[in-house]
Symmetry: C2
Subunit: 590 residues, 2 copies
């Protein structure tokens, strides 16, 4: 049995109703406004800002931003490239923004930068570790050459003062090196933002967890911990990269033919492990995919990856080696149409074809929306005779995020007075809250905010307010960015469903008589060549409706005629086809 | 990190290239042509036919059909209701169709009946068990009243002769009662079609496995086994319904408030178990959803479900009982927009709202394409304070299909000379083949066919041929059915991506001069109100292009003008917006 897939709701309805309360801050005590702009109702589009409130103080109104990510669009957003946070609430205050802190170089944390920094001010300093900044810079140079950002490198020893906020960083494991958590000392207390994290005490190949520094937080009286909920649904502890290396080694060692890893360009920890293992087992590695190549180049340059240069060979040289000596790292673990793996399988790749002795290893965790593409990719691989291994450890999320036991450990180490789960769907945040209660935290210590919902952090209390700033989706579509996309998107959804039907009539502006026969153009509705009768009847109906509505009307109200035409033609078409195309009418007065 | 979802391929490209070989049957020996029309490259749309070949015999050309299912559309098929098999190869031979056998009453086995039976001949006898036929009849009466089918009831003791084919049936467990496997004795040997199955020897609540009859097949020299591959990727053995009942009982017993099961209307075995458990624990059951109600009524009428009538209460009476005494069975396990569960959560249901003490139990196995809808549903449930249990056993596929050990057991019991894996994506079929090799079968005993690919079964050999009959998707869209939908679908995909841009100019047919200013209508492209400059420039460009192209052209070739306009306007719009709307131009000659 199979069942119908739910019609995805409109993105507008899906989000919470946006109510803008410009509630006065009745309490006069100084506090920090914590304003999440994204990442609290989804995985992606992570961005928040902290705003200091102390009228009379020279710091009053000072702002820092943490992360500036993007989110990839949902099924019901045809043609949309991606979604970025809404910064409308920051625009009037942009002169107060003291800096932007980026926790690590994944798109859901850096992807909004090229769009948002020009709006907020390109000179605002942007802080990150060396690798994070190098990846941001590369992306900026590729996409907006000549528009440099004001990049400021930090490391785990840095201490930075931005208005009332003092910043420190601690190293953390994720699946890209040089990831950090952020410690913000504010006049009301310490706020910790974990970024994406796991607590890997056995390996630092994908970022070193600075466990000693995290432990010291337990003695520093942390007011608020904002902690990653991506894997809050998973019981137990996350794997160490060391365990993962052992598993990948089995695959590398046992491969009887070529080994093709379909993976992610930004999964630098995992890519590093595979290259190390190739070297150990005397195999050669081909790297395919522009972003993967550039990311690896950057990581090598900064010392985050170290290997013998001879291990990497150009794709053209692969046939010179026995198949079992060749490993190919390719983008496309999610069945993306233009990634390397799909181009190989579809025989569109210039050099590579699947061979029956190949083993293809790719992620078994598929990002929602990609399942069918991945299944079709898998089917094609089996059709070509390849062996396929679905390996969860190659997933972008598997292995990189704290699971339930890790989340508890983070709480127990930092001992915050309040916990605000971040980075995940609402369900994940709530589950994170349940986990926290197992450590002894009480309901009144847990803050579950929505995107745009303002949280106020006082010395004695952190509280969720009813104030909301705009945090709806801002869609990027070609060169267009903005809220106004929503009406366009609704039209696209309607067009996609049943197409468009346009009737065009040349009318005498004085008599209202139609000249000649109305023209009809239609796309995406029905197959016109087989619908001559329907088109004929629609033309006749158009003539009749125009004649009837204009009969005793002087002067002719053409808007009324057009509306009547749309409505009655729409009804006619539905009766005949059970479809509701978008009906438009154009009257050309001649 | 998140990554872009792959652009889904065109459904046309996704399928294998259709090559029609009308290869002569070079071998003159009598044989059975096994022709799968669907279900071998997907989960769904199950249908095949067997055609007897023996020139000179009175049976030559006789045909039986097994199953007639539908498939729900993929992401890239906007507006399509569902997909049915292509019966083009059967149309010229429809007078030779002796009967249609339906293995069980799930949509992927019965859904094509209302569309295909009228094309093939409504009088062709349609065989199924009592429950299967009752559900088919109900659906036919609801959708096509006054168009009865020629239904013929069978049971596990039936023996039917249809031309050269002798049919027997054996009972099998699935997750709907009265499911059968089909034993077809042909002049060349026995062909077994398992339908959907699991081998449940501990319970017959969801269909009784007639293991003794299956065992006898081992001695009957089965030529070809066609066996369900849906769960071929799963190691181990499938759960017994008995184990599943034990697990569900814990949930029913422990619920402190109302218990809401989001499930499937056709999952009659599981629904039966829940109602039995409610009765045992003295709870009342509300059944919500038209199809669920009617299916349960049919099952009760035919004796497949037995319970005290007082256990079921109308939804309006639920508030009269303490919450922990109430169980609600609701459709909507997959986040479908109009199913009961979504209507409750969205506060669109007339009587039911989520309460913080509710426990909502639904399937953790989400059908590809539904993941986001289900996640949004889950988020809303958490937001309303409900407890959510994701329970794999409530899935429509979990629990109903043979896993790897069961598949081996089926092969070992029936001992076929050839195995043809059916019902699943190509990858599943290949994995099923690997499993078969673990029982000792050889590569040359395994048949991996594509949809439409003809398999020939001779007394001594079963072989895959290169002959292919049409088996492409036939899309049902409102009242339209047919191949011609593909061009319409491509237009919808294009419209969905970047919208439409229509320019309309009234021109003097003799001079070629444009009268007045061209009209522009556009939808789904950009927000017109904010694009006045672009529209102005597009109008000017239109005037310029028409003037240039018509300047020295006598008479004016308006097709050429229109094509030039489309191309150059398209280029202009792309330069300005990086979008490629569908550009159409209409010249009204006045």
């Amino acid at each position: 049995m199979i069942t119908n897939r739910g019609r995805a709701d409109s993105p507008v309805r899906r989000q919470n109703p946006v109510r803008f309360y410009n509630a006065p801050n009745t309490r006069k005590d100084k506090h920090v406004r914590v304003v999440p702009l994204g990442g609290l109702e989804e995985v992606g589009r992570n961005m928040m800002y902290l705003e200091y409130y102390e009228p009379g103080s020279s710091y009053h109104g000072d702002i820092i931003i943490i992360d500036m990510g993007l989110q990839f669009p949902e099924d019901n957003m045809p043609g949309i490239d991606y979604i970025i946070p809404n910064v409308a609430s920051l625009i009037p205050k942009r002169h107060k923004i003291k800096g932007v802190i980026i926790t690590h170089a994944h798109y859901d944390h850096i992807g909004g930068i090229p769009h948002l920094m020009p709006r907020l001010g390109r000179n605002i300093p942007l802080f990150g570790t060396d690798l994070t900044l190098a990846i941001i810079k590369k992306r900026q140079d590729d996409n907006s050459p000549g528009a440099p950002l004001n990049l400021k490198e930090v490391d785990n020893k840095s201490k930075i003062k931005l208005g009332p906020f003092q910043l420190e960083f601690y190293g953390i494991s994720h699946n890209i090196p040089a990831s950090v958590g952020v410690i913000v000392t504010t006049p009301v207390g310490i706020i910790v933002h974990t970024g994406d994290f796991k607590l890997d005490l056995k390996s630092d190949i994908a970022g070193k967890t600075d466990i000693e520094k995290i432990k010291t937080l337990g003695k520093r009286n942390v007011l608020l911990l904002m902690s990653d909920s991506t894997n809050a649904r998973e019981a137990g502890s996350q794997f160490s990269e060391k365990d993962i290396t052992v598993e990948i080694e089995t695959i590398v060692k046992d491969a009887k033919g070529r080994l093709i890893f379909g993976t992610f360009a930004s999964l630098l920890g995992r890519l590093n492990e595979i290259i190390q293992l190739a070297e150990k087992h005397k195999k050669k590695v081909v790297i395919e995919g522009y972003s993967m190549k550039t990311n690896i180049e950057i990581a090598v340059r900064l010392g985050y990856m170290k290997f013998n240069k001879k291990t990497i060979i150009p794709v053209q040289e692969a046939p010179n080696y026995p198949p079992h000596k060749v490993i190919i790292l390719a983008t496309g673990a999610q069945g993306e149409d233009n990634a390397v793996l799909m181009r190989i399988v579809d025989k569109r790749h210039k050099y590579l074809r699947i061979q029956p002795s190949d083993t293809v290893v790719f992620s078994s965790s598929v990002i929602p929306g990609n399942e069918r593409s991945v299944q079709h990719l898998t089917d094609k691989l089996y059709r070509d005779g390849a062996e396929v291994i679905n390996y969860k450890m190659l997933d972008i999320h598997a292995g990189g995020h704290a699971k339930q036991e890790d989340l508890k450990l983070m709480i127990n180490l930092t001992r915050p007075r309040y916990l605000m789960p971040i980075e995940g769907n609402h369900a994940f945040l709530k589950i994170h809250g349940k986990i926290a209660k197992q450590t002894g935290m009480k309901d009144n210590q847990l803050i579950f905010a929505d995107n745009g919902q303002v949280v106020e952090a006082y010395k004695t209390e952190v509280k969720l307010t009813k104030e909301r700033v705009p945090a709806n989706y801002v869609m990027v579509d070609g060169l267009g960015v903005g809220d106004m996309q929503e009406v366009v998107l609704r039209d696209r959804q309607a067009l996609a469903e049943d197409g468009i039907f346009v009737v065009i009539a040349a009318v005498d502006s004085t008599t209202g008589k139609v000249k000649g026969s109305p023209d009809i153009i239609s796309r995406g509705f029905i197959y016109l060549r087989e619908s001559k009768q329907l088109l004929y009847e629609a033309r006749q109906l158009t003539l009749k409706i125009i004649e009837e509505t204009t009969a005793n009307m002087h002067p002719v109200n053409w808007e009324y005629v057009k509306d009547t035409l749309k409505e009655r033609l729409g009804q006619y078409l539905f009766t005949k086809t059970e479809k509701r195309p978008m009906v438009l009418s154009v009257m050309i007065e001649v």
